[in-house]
């Protein structure tokens, strides 16, 4: 695990209120696996006090050598994210990572990816991991409140996967939630060897996990939880195990879990 001061080499508002942040630092991305995350802190100040977890979406390109840069999607929701979104190229961000357990891709199965909101960022890295020739067999469903917030889905469609979009305001793609889209299209999406990968709000993940279970399909989910340390010591990001199994840490044993590994209710 690395800790670095990374230099901002890209900051672009890719959809209203969401920014693509490029960070360059020695070796921060060489070992990064899809679904892993970084802890970022924009300021050396005391407010915000804690770093924030973000999954990564792409590495390499933008003129830097692979292994030296990573791209992260930041949706402005509060002070910490607003500070990150106001960074200028050349400024430094404190980065720890890559952290946690990422996606596990089995080449023998057909991936069906389901993403809600900016959670879909973590699916971009997963699609990039899949060899280009295998991407035609990958279905990706991305939903958001507004059709103006589907940048991730549009990026993935450029990468050769089959993408279906959903927006709750009906401005783009299917008019409804990504879950409604999933159920609406299931006949053409499903194969016996499908494996589901889901990322987004917890309620959405629970429904996708239940749907996958009802179809007898394996399902991996990437959980978003509040975190303080990101490295397994504070025990703040507890995730409940089924039955009386206690808790595991989203930052260490996750953030990607197999849907049956955790308690949903």
């Amino acid at each position: 695990m690395k800790t670095s001061l990374a230099q901002v080499d890209l900051l672009e508002e890719v959809q209203p209120g969401t920014f693509l942040l490029g960070l360059a630092a020695p070796n921060i991305s060489r070992e990064a696996k899809p679904g892993q995350f970084y802890m970022l802190k924009a300021s050396q100040g005391l407010d915000p006090f804690l770093p924030r977890p973000f999954s990564w979406l792409r590495k390499g390109e933008e003129g830097s050598r692979s292994g030296h840069r990573v791209e992260i999607l930041i949706q402005v929701v509060g002070k910490a994210t607003a500070l990150l979104a106001r960074m200028r190229p050349g400024e430094k961000v404190q980065v720890v990572g890559p952290l946690g357990r990422g996606w596990e891709w089995d080449p023998a199965r057909f991936p069906l990816l389901v993403g809600g909101g900016v959670g879909a960022a973590s699916l971009v890295s997963l699609v990039e991991w899949i060899p280009p020739e295998a991407r035609q067999a990958v279905w990706v469903l991305v939903g958001a409140r507004s059709g103006r917030q589907l940048w991730c889905g549009q990026e993935i469609s450029k990468m050769g996967a089959k993408v279906l979009l959903a927006s709750q305001d009906g401005l783009e793609g299917f008019h409804g939630t990504v879950l409604q889209l999933l159920k609406h299209e299931e006949a053409r999406l499903l194969r016996a060897e499908t494996e589901v990968f889901a990322c987004g709000p917890r309620e959405m993940l629970r429904e996708v996990a239940r749907w996958s279970e009802s179809k007898g399909l394996p399902c991996q989910v990437s959980l978003e939880t509040p975190m303080a340390c990101g490295v397994g010591v504070c025990l703040g990001c507890a995730v409940r195990l089924p039955g009386d199994g206690g808790y595991v840490r989203a930052c260490k044993e996750g953030p990607v879990f197999r849907s049956q590994e955790i308690e949903w209710d």
Binding site: M1, K2, T3, K41, L46, D47, P48, F49, L50, P51, Q94, V96, T225, P226, M227, A228, C229, G230, V231, G232, V233, C234, L235, G236, C237, A238, V239, R240, D244, G246, Y247, K252
Partner: protein, 313 residues
Amino acid sequence: MEKTAPDINCPLGPIILANPVLAASGTAGYGTEDLPGGALSGLGALVTKGISMEPRPGNPPPRIVETPCGMLNAIGLQNIGVEAFLGEHLPILTELGVRVIVNFFGESEEEYVRLASKLGGCEGLTGLELNVSCPNVKKGGRAFGRDPEVLHHLVKKVRAETSMPLWVKLTPDGVEPLEAAQASWEAGCDGLTVANTYLGMAVDVEKRRPRISIGTGGVSGPAIRPLTLYRVWKVAAVAPVPVIACGGITCARDALEYFIVGARAVQIGSGAFGNPGLYGEVLEGIRDYMIRHSLASLEQLVGSLEEMPRVAF
């Protein structure tokens, strides 16, 4: 002329640590996680996550939320239990050469005593830190540390059970700091950790619900540093045992404040979450300060506050 490096050896009663910067309980786990940049290697000592006789699952999520210049946590004393700590983690720490202070707690006086007996006989430990912020089940859940008489009795029992260096980590809540401190040193402890987190709360106004699952939690971070600094100053002025300061340190200057009011060592807690290099930065900053002020040893820094007012009992 080249100045000689200041002596940062840190004598704490029966213990001498290589330096006065420690990791606070609950913020560096059991010391065996892969921390950024090998953070623990230069520490004076590691204080472990609070350990109980049996493993404890902890509280349901959400357990943490950020608050202004700090954070609120209610982890719920989750830990792997003493057997797993001694069997799985202590050998690794010993091999790494990390000095280890075990923070421990019980739900009853008997559990504290059993743990003290077990831990007191272990090789490879530098000392024990008594966590007295745990609810006393027999006394309606009131924390042991809130009642000086209960605290005195507890420390005395634990003291009788082990000769290992013993610190008491005082709670800042619901008790006069000097009364709790005196109750502890009169019962025979070797050091006082001042202090723990402060009870607090945060509410989600949209949902009208507490932002952590059990409603209340402990506040840490720079927000509470002036409150703890006051307690350290008050206790260190009269305590016959070393005071180890713990509360909201985010830079060397913060640590220096604590030394100047009388602390002999400092524990760094949640400040390291946002800055994994903090332990080393603080130690380096203390050294620089000592050189700048021509202080040869920590002894010359500790309690060096100008015109220190007398503290009345």
